[in-house]
């Protein structure tokens, strides 16, 4: 059994007949689009310690036709004027047209690593700061400046582990923040739905599937830190979290002899990615209100896929040797 999660999705696919054709195609598309993006950004001036980072479907390596460019310009140190690249340097390449990042001004901006890694908790840790920090850890991919990106990534990990980590224990500071982030997403979804029902169907489907993948794909590596001394946890987390979340979960299903459940769970997720890659499906879901969704055949299908996906994740967390860790650290 390989110790790295990279490539685990393909290994899990060998345990089923159907494989994960949509996920693997989305990965290929992500790689192709990333190479194109890198060529187009080739001449952009980049300060030492700066990187351009893509998140969302880019970071999950599951780009589909409607994916947008959730990007950050990540700059080492504290906030300062004149850091490069400026947003103007990226115009027309990142976030252009339909790919404009859409999430409440969280993306498409310069972000300084110092506050991101230091301001964890309390008043200064705004919703935006939390979201950017978590998405950097859970679903990010550098398009330019890979070394600076890796340094920034490690600084954020250090922000959680320094003075906190213990041998053979999941790092609680990170675990609590991860759980807080997931619950924040859920609460914010409901709050947003009360204020504005537009795109309810699509947002609900993404909450049930993409966001749940994001959370579980972070939860499992954090729990698995219990197998490591604190001196090893930093590198373990960096290796795990830089693999796509579908690889992290696939590796865990394989490792804990739950390949059947893994094939079903990620098979359901694979079918969702296939549906998401259909503009008509996206449009139909986006047009659905909450009251219409229960009777809608498409939404019922998506809800069923989401249930299958969730059942697989619950089996992984509660019916494998991960269960004692969830019990010991997942609730209190």
């Amino acid at each position: 059994m390989s110790d790295t999660p990279h490539g685990a999705l393909e290994r899990l696919a060998e345990h089923g007949r159907r494989g994960f054709p949509h996920l693997l195609e989305a990965r290929r598309r992500t790689e192709r689009d990333l190479a194109t993006m890198q060529r187009r950004l080739g001449d952009v001036p980049l300060d030492s310690g700066a990187s351009i980072v893509l998140m969302g479907s880019w970071g999950r390596r599951e780009r589909t036709i409607g994916s947008d460019d959730d990007f950050l310009v990540l700059i080492d140190g504290d906030e300062r004027a004149g850091a490069r690249p400026a947003l103007a340097d990226l115009e027309g390449v990142l976030g252009a047209g339909e790919a404009k990042p859409g999430t409440q001004e969280i993306f498409g901006t310069q972000v300084f690593v110092g506050p991101l890694a230091r301001k964890i908790g309390l008043e200064d840790d705004s919703n935006s700061n939390l979201t950017r920090r978590m998405l950097l850890l859970l679903e990010s991919l550098p398009v330019l400046g890979p070394e600076a990106y890796r340094d920034s990534f490690a600084q954020v990990i250090d922000g959680y582990l320094a003075g906190q980590a213990k041998d053979y224990r999941p790092p609680r500071f990170l675990l609590n923040d991860l759980i807080r982030y997931w619950r924040t997403i859920c609460v914010d979804f409901a709050g947003k739905a009360r204020a504005d029902e537009r795109k309810w169907g699509l947002r609900n489907a993404k909450l049930r599937l993409n966001r749940k993948l994001l959370f579980a794909g972070g939860l499992v590596p954090v729990l698995l830190c219990h197998e490591h001394r604190r001196s090893e946890q930093r590198e373990f987390l960096i290796d795990q979290l830089q693999a796509p979340p579908t690889d992290r979960l696939a590796q865990a299903f394989l490792r804990f002899d739950a390949a059947d459940a893994g094939v079903r769970a990620l098979g359901a997720y694979d079918r969702w990615i296939g549906r998401l890659d259909d503009q008509e499906v996206r449009d139909r879901l986006a047009a659905l209100t909450r009251s219409e969704a229960a009777e809608d055949p498409l939404f019922r299908e998506i809800r069923r896929l989401a249930k299958e996906f969730e059942q697989g994740l619950l089996a992984l967390l509660f019916e494998t040797p991960l269960s004692p860790m969830v019990r010991a650290f997942g609730v209190f």
């Binding site: 059947d260 459940a261 094939v263 098979g267 249930k307 059942q311 619950l314």
Partner: protein, 233 residues
């Protein structure tokens, strides 16, 4: 990991090792047709999963009317309906229409392969349709080879593994593993009990529980539906 695959899920009993575990109403014969009472009994086993078994056509029609009553809300997160296999009079196309008209909260409609006349008629049920493997009394639908053409005709259909049915065909349970190898990706839930010599569902015997464990460990993520009460422990 508990040593036994199954634990007593009754209120006040041992904590269930499996989630979710629910009951079929099919074994509550004394309450047959009284859906309010059947659901109340099912809720005592689990508020999460249930199979409402309408094994005869008159029962099924009663269930349809009961489910359609205004304000009916069931709490289960997994709701399966077992389609009728006995006393069938409705033309197949009409039966399928009625299955299609079930409430949107229904997750699965279990159909016996040997009761299907024209598979294409069931296609509109999509992934709500779930085919169950049959026991040794039945002429077909028992093995992966016999089920393969049906699943080929109904590519969206799910699979319900009835473990004791598979055991009745192959006591070594290799056949159950073959069914999972062939249709495991479609698995939606499991039927669980022991069978008597006439292939009637009876409470799970300890020897069967032990024998079923390797099969059940391949089904950790799906609801397990009890087709007989759990034995007293």
């Amino acid at each position: 990991m508990v040593s036994s695959a199954i634990a007593d899920a009754r209120v006040g009993g041992l904590i269930s090792a499996h989630h979710p575990l629910g009951t079929s109403t099919g074994h509550l014969t004394e309450l047959r047709g009284h859906w309010d009472m059947l659901v109340t009994r099912a809720l005592e086993v689990s508020t999460l999963a249930v199979e409402l078994a309408a094994l005869s056509e008159p029962e099924f029609l009663g269930l349809c009317a009961w489910l359609a009553s205004s304000g009916r809300e069931l709490p289960f997160r997994f709701l399966s309906i077992h389609a009728p296999t006995k006393h069938r009079e409705l033309p197949e196309a009409e039966l399928v229409e009625r299955l299609l008209a079930l409430p949107p909260t229904v997750d699965a409609v279990v159909v016996h392969p040997d009761s299907i006349e024209q598979p294409h008629r069931y296609a509109p049920l999509g992934s709500t349709l779930v085919l169950e493997n049959m026991d040794s009394r039945k002429p077909t639908g028992r093995t992966s080879a016999e089920l393969e053409p049906l699943f080929a005709a109904l590519p969206d259909a799910g699979f319900c593994l009835d473990v004791p049915h598979a055991q009745s065909i192959d006591p070594t349970l290799d056949g159950a593993h073959q069914l999972l190898d062939a249709f495991g990706e479609r698995l939606r839930h499991v039927h669980l009990s022991s069978l008597d010599e006439d292939c009637h569902h009876v409470p799970l015997r300890p020897a069967d529980e032990e024998a079923f464990t390797p099969v059940l460990q391949r089904c950790l993520d799906v609801p397990w539906i009890l087709e007989a009460p759990l034995p007293a422990r």
